[in-house]
Symmetry: C2
Subunit: 267 residues, 2 copies
């Protein structure tokens, strides 16, 4: 089976789709065959980003690196339990099909808990959880005692991951590698930034996830969406001049990929 | 009935809960009685923020301004249609109950489309849609032609709002006032910032929403979550010294409230 990499965080706007797109481009440019699934069935930001990429390739007459995509649709069954069965089966089928030709499958999930996102977490060989540099986002990962600032335990998303890990173990699979990625980190030092860093460190020791070097708040991470491009696609001397921020952002993406320790990938 | 203000955007992380909290504090400090509903049934970021506020009041022995809250829970019915009926009825009941004592009801919704969020949009006298300063976020509001940069039409969230407006009109209510609020605006000028501004302006003319002055990316908007405070609660000479950024942020919140033209509210 292909190595399944899931972007998950039930907190909205953490950076799942952005990270999914940058990860796909990094793996594809390193020569790997990548499959893609977008389990955010309505929003489809990851697949919209890829559609924009495909359209650019057609406009300029030069195809761009694209993943193999399978579109999954919501079940229409009236009974919830039956709909859940159908969706779980559709996901398993899609992963099996992509595994025939791809070494990696990148799976984006919605900022909510759904049948498909829970099933994706069980299927994840690597789970990447982007998180805004904010205690509002952290609140879904871990609980903090406001009086002392200490972590008191896991929160609802960490508990969902925990139960996915248990189901994975019960089916005899290797444990998932869970990596938390701080995202939209401010360039300014602040009390808040240190506090978020501290509670993430504390929680990682308690519930066993690794912390990858994160992404800073940079316009380049979102500016190229309409053309389906990422900073990794920009060449020296091309239409968009490469700035210091692009060079730094490129290093941040490389550092993330390296931290993932993916099989067969030299960052 | 109370004036119902809904924070809505199916795009995750746009700033709905943050805006809901700052709006509640602004209205309460101006002497209005405010009810609160959190329709993000699992994440509950708005109610978590309020719980932290209540806990601070208890810790320091001085109660803080709090809204009247009603907690709505998900229906357990196995049939989707029955669950939807029950949830719509629960929302209508909660709004009616809060209307007995409150002039305003602030309703936070999840970053997804659910029965409750759709029903809330129909009930909204004022709908506030925060949006990140990004074409990724805009993609759910309007479609843009990548080749020309022109808006080609509404996207899926705008269409959901449109159908809520129609159902509202069918039940003989006054039209909702739809206000889009740019959020986490970068302090730096950029091509991206101008592009986003342009497409929001273009879409507002086509589908009829107003644009409120937005919030900049400022740590103070998220830093006080653990204590349930907002920058509006900070006093001169208190524990946290007031900086220029706080003064500017306070003005941004005031400008938002003023732009909402709420009945009986002098910003
Ligand atoms: N490092 C970054 N720098 C600047 N902007 C960013 C960065 N990462 C993400 N963004 C922007 O933040 C917003 C949220 O990111 P994104 O949509 O990828 O998150 P998500 O977790 O997929 O959200 P959802 O919960 O809606 O699926 C988008 O507008 C995106 O363009
Ligand atoms: N103006 C701002 N400046 C800095 N940070 C902000 C600002 N507005 C929101 N944030 C931060 O951005 C993140 C998303 O905001 P928030 O949780 O309010 O959005 P939301 O739309 O309610 O998300 P969800 O879709 O998960 O409900 C949070 O970490 C929050 O602290
Ligand atoms: Mg997404
Ligand atoms: Mg929210």
């Amino acid at each position: 089976q292909a190595h399944v990499i899931v972007l998950g965080n039930e907190k909205g706007g953490a950076g799942k789709s952005t990270a999914a797109m940058h990860l796909f481009v990094a793996l594809a440019r390193a020569g790997h065959r990548v499959g893609a699934l977008d389990l955010d069935l309505r929003q489809q930001s990851f697949f919209r980003y890829l559609q924009n990429r495909e359209a650019l390739g057609q406009r300029v007459g030069k195809p761009l690196l694209m993943p193999e995509r399978i579109t999954i649709s919501a079940s229409r069954a009236a009974l919830r339990e039956q709909a859940a069965e159908e969706e779980r089966a559709a996901l398993a089928g899609a992963i099996a099909q992509l595994s025939e030709t791809c070494g990696f499958v990148v799976v984006d999930t919605p900022g909510a808990v759904t049948t498909l996102s829970e099933a994706a977490h069980v299927a994840a060989d690597t789970l990447i959880t982007p998180i805004n540099d904010s205690l509002v986002d952290f609140d879904l990962l871990g609980r903090v005692d406001p009086a002392t600032g200490k972590v008191t335990g896991p929160s609802i998303y960490a508990e969902m991951v925990w139960s996915a890990r248990q189901r994975r173990a019960a089916s005899g699979r290797l444990p998932m590698d869970w990596v938390v990625l701080r995202n939209r980190i401010s360039m300014l030092e602040s009390r808040n930034k240190r506090k978020v860093g501290k509670v993430i460190e504390e929680l990682s020791r308690r519930i066993g996830f690794r912390i990858a070097p994160g992404f800073s708040e940079r316009v380049i991470f979102r500016e190229l969406f309409l053309n389906g491009l990422t900073l990794l696609d920009l060449k020296q001397g091309g239409a968009i001049s490469i700035t210091m921020s692009h060079v730094a952002a490129r290093q941040e993406v490389r550092d993330m990929v390296k931290a993932l320790n993916l099989p067969g990938v030299d960052a």
